[in-house]
Amino acid sequence: EAGVTQFPSHSVIEKGQTVTLRCDPISGHDNLYWYRRVMGKEIKFLLHFVKESKQDESGMPNNRFLAERTGGTYSTLKVQPAELEDSGVYFCASTDGNLYGYTFGSGTRLTVV
């Protein structure tokens, strides 16, 4: 079974530019989550999809962040325009349900300079 795949693995962009992160969850997993870890600190929840619907986006920092999940399959997270404080590692995770653990992707390390 393929795991959760994230692309790109690294991205370095200048302040003010746009970046789009992609996550392909495990096939059949309805629940998809985005998290961010900044500067080795705790992992912060960003948002949760159930299929194509946003179930909870209370963790999204501001309106510069836009997440979509087309057709309930892969998801994208766009940051526009990027700011320095957006730097960090963005993780995607999927799960088959609340009784199971989450499978994480390897993350996208975003550096805004």
């Binding site: 959760v4 629940n31 989550y33 998290y35 600190k41 705790e42 992992i43 912060k44 929840f45 949760h48 159930v50 179930q55 909870d56 993780f91 995770a93 799960t95 349900g97 609340n98 009784l99 199971y100 653990g101 989450y102 499978t103 994480f104 992707g105 390897s106 993350g107």
Partner: protein, 110 residues
């Protein structure tokens, strides 16, 4: 909502034991444990759902207290491969909320 972990960091010698605690002010529906090595994805270790539950595999086990407000992760006879950051996490019954704990950095030295 975010569980608090203690200690924040611990350094062990190979073969020593460690306990990592995860506490919440409210009863938790579930508690997960993950380990993350530098530059890698967090890896699921185990999930506990019931108060009083204990489970584990090999030399890593965890407990969930009766009130479901505290969980502990036990690492016995630590190995170098145990190094990493350990996170507890908690979700609700609907599965639409999940929050990670504050993390514990564990370093095992020879």
């Amino acid at each position: 909502q975010q569980p608090v972990q203690s200690p924040q960091a611990v350094i062990l010698r190979e073969g020593e034991d460690a306990v990592i605690n995860c506490s919440s002010s409210k009863a938790l529906y579930s508690v997960h444990w993950y380990r993350q090595k530098h530059g890698e994805a967090p890896v699921f270790l185990m999930i506990l759902l019931k108060g009083g539950e204990q489970k584990g595999h090999d030399k890593i086990s965890a407990s969930f207290n009766e009130k479901k407000q505290q969980s502990s992760l036990y690492l016995t006879a630590s190995q170098l491969s145990y190094s990493g950051t350990y996170f507890c996490g908690t979700g609700n019954w609907a599965g639409n909320q999940f929050y990670f704990g504050t993390g514990t950095s564990l370093t095992v030295i020879p």
